[in-house]
Structures are given as C-alpha cells and as structure tokens.
C-alpha cells in the first residue's frame, strides 16, 4: 500500500512541496549545529580510539550484567526444602487411549478398572462422589449395576417407630466407603489415611501417569541408601519415597470377565483409566464442546476478517489528491 502511494507521481509532487515549505532558515541553523557537534565527536574519536558514547555503552553493559549476576546470586538459587528424591520421581508419559483432543476412554478398560477398584482398592479407599447410577451406560448395564448395588446395605428412611433399618442398595445410592469415618480408616491403617479416590487423578501432579507409575513402581528392594521408616514402603514416585500403602497389584489378582490376562500393569492401567473417568465423568462432553467451540469461533473469526476487509477496502485503496493553490 505504502509503496503504491509513494511511487505515484502525484505524491512525489506533494512531498517535494512539503520539503520546500519547511526549508526555512530555522531548520538550516539547527542543522548546522548538529553537524558541528558531530564533527567534534569525530575529532575525539581520533585520539582516544573509543568514543565517549561507546565507553558509556560498555560501562552500562558491564554494570547491568554485574547487577544481574549479583541479583541472580542472591535470589536465583532459592534454598529448596526438599531434594529431588523427596519431591518424588517424575512419571513417564504413557500413551493413554484418551490422551487426544478427540479421544474418549476405552470403555472396556473402564469396566475392567471398576472390577479392580471393587476387588482391590475398595478394601481401603472410598469412592464417595460416584453413585451407582453413573456406571450405567458407561461400564455396566442397568441390571448389572442394580445387582452390584444390592450387594451392599444402606440405612433406610425411619419407619413409623423412628427406627432406621437396613435395606439393599439402589441405583441412586453412592458407592459405600470401606470405613465409617476418618478415625476408623486411620486406626485400621497404622495412622495413615487412604485418600478418597473420586478425584485422585485430578488431585495429583502427573494425573494418570503418576497413579499408574505409583501402582507399578514398587521395587523389590529399596535402593541402597534409601531410608524407609518403619511401617512405610519404598516407592520412588511417592514424594519422600516412603508410602504407607504396600504394593497391592500382583499378576492374576482379579478375574476379568472379558478374558483379558490380569497382569499387574494391565490392572494398573485399567484402574487408572477408571479413576480418570470417575474424576472426569464429563470428559466426553467437554471434548465435544471444545470441538464445537473451535469450529464456531473459527468460522466467526474468518467472517469477521472478511467483513473488515470488505468495509476497509475502499478506504485503504483510495488516493488523496493535492491540488496546490494557484499563486
């Protein structure tokens, strides 16, 4: 645009007119002062080799660098309260089936993962935020979930005498916790509280990768030099290395109803996927809405670009004519 305008003969005439208008005595005088100052500077350069400006620039650079180094020395290396080992080993990133922007969970894996939770994890860990009904259409049929819920007893509404009786579970009930309260859980686990697993994938750095690594990361023996307190087990992925939970997943611990071999890593993968679903039941809808938002806003963005160009084209391509007044 600028090139087209400046190359037009009309504009050249305009600019030359402007230059003529400004070429009065004041501009000339100040111009000569500037050239005098420049010649003095050049004279200085002659005998000291480095100009005053260059020296000032060098001093400023050295001072800035020195100050930055001093600041970095003072504040750049904060004292860390934990060592890397105490911070916990960072998990590798695994290719989860639900990693992609448009990937859902592997629901067969979720179903196996629920089996693992029910058979293994549920002995100590609660899943307080998950109701039986939410499993319907995700991992099990409605009949299967009803049968699962009926295996547990829940308090009923008070009867006419005000007594609370026990009734079998319904779809609307929540998955029952293994302990009635925190104190009971701690008493049964040497003072350690097994955390609720409803949101554990969201609540831990590394998410699925961390939980999977933790479950499969128990070495046979702690490495030389690792100090493990009594009652704790060594796991490099757990911050501090000492975790109250012992290794629980061993090959063949559960029987999968789809015939998948129940290796320890298979069970860890399945239960981690299941816990990720438990933490994010809105997962599929979230990703679908994300796609829709990107499509709609992308389209609106393209339209707005087009409208802007449409409206601005006449303004951007117009030419301004200057007709000098006749003297």
């Amino acid at each position: 645009m600028v090139n087209r305008l400046s190359s037009s003969p009309l504009l050249k005439r305009v600019s030359s007119t402007i230059a003529r208008g400004f070429s009065n005595s004041a501009v000339k005088e100040s111009g000569s002062e500037w050239s005098n100052a420049l010649s003095i500077d050049r004279a200085n350069v002659g005998h000291s080799k480095v100009s005053r400006n260059t020296r000032a620039a060098i001093v400023a650079t050295v001072a800035t660098g020195g100050l930055a180094a001093w600041y970095a020395h003072l504040y750049g290396n904060p004292i860390k309260a934990v060592t890397v080992a105490e911070h916990g080993l960072h998990p590798a990133s695994y290719p989860w089936p639900h990693n992609g922007w448009l990937d859902t969970f592997d629901h067969a894996s979720l179903r196996r993962g629920f089996t693992v939770y029910k058979e293994v994890c549920a002995a100590c860990h609660s899943l307080n935020l998950v109701a039986w009904r939410t499993l319907v259409g995700v991992t099990h049929t409605a009949d299967e979930v009803r049968a699962l819920a009926e295996e547990y007893e829940y308090d009923s509404e008070p009867n006419d005498e005000g007594e609370i009786e026990k009734r079998p579970g319904k779809l609307s009930d929540y998955i029952p916790p293994p302990y009635p309260n925190e104190q009971a859980a701690r008493a049964a686990n040497q003072g350690a509280l097994p955390p609720d697993l409803s949101l554990i994938i969201k609540a831990r750095h590394g998410g699925c990768d961390y939980v999977f690594s933790l479950l499969t990361g128990y070495p046979d023996d702690p490495p030389a030099g690792a100090v493990v307190a009594s009652g704790l087990n060594y796991n490099p992925y757990f911050p501090g290395g000492g975790i109250a939970m012992a290794r629980v997943l061993f090959d063949g611990l559960v029987d999968y109803d789809d015939g998948t071999p129940a290796t320890a890593s298979q069970m860890a993968k399945d239960v981690t996927s299941f816990l990720n679903w438990a933490a994010e039941p809105e997962h599929d809808e979230r990703k679908k809405i994300g796609l829709k938002v990107l499509i709609i806003t992308g389209t609106l963005w393209a339209i707005s670009l087009w409208v802007k160009r449409f409206k601005w084209t006449p303004i951007k391509t117009r030419k301004i004519l200057y007709k000098p007044p006749k003297v």
Partner: protein, 62 residues
C-alpha cells in the same frame, strides 16, 4: 441475482418471516451441527465406547 432476489423476497421482505427464519434456522443448525459432531466423534472413537461393547454384556432384553 435472481437467487438473491428470490431469497430476499421469500425470507426478508416481511419482518415476521425474517425473525422466524432466524429462530428456526438456529434450531435447525444446532440440531444438524450437534449430530454431525456426534457422528465424527463416534467414527473417531469406534470400538472404544460403551455402545460398541455393550452387546457382549446384555443378557436379557432390557
């Protein structure tokens, strides 16, 4: 030109028809858009969703 005139005369000449077109169009677009996204999703995730595996767990007719 003839098409745009036809569109103008059909949908825009009367304001009531114009507003109705916008409202109906919004509903129609959303239904079509959502079902298209669902189809894309089902194609990308074929074999992973519950609807793909539930046939092996349904024993009776429910």
């Amino acid at each position: 030109m003839a098409v745009s005139t036809l569109i103008y005369n059909t949908f825009m000449r009367r304001n009531s028809v114009f507003v109705g077109t916008i409202l109906f169009g919004a509903f129609a677009f959303e239904i079509g858009f959502d079902s298209t996204i669902d189809k894309v999703w089902d194609r990308l995730n074929s074999g992973k969703q519950w609807k793909d595996i539930k046939h092996s767990y349904i024993t009776s007719d429910e």
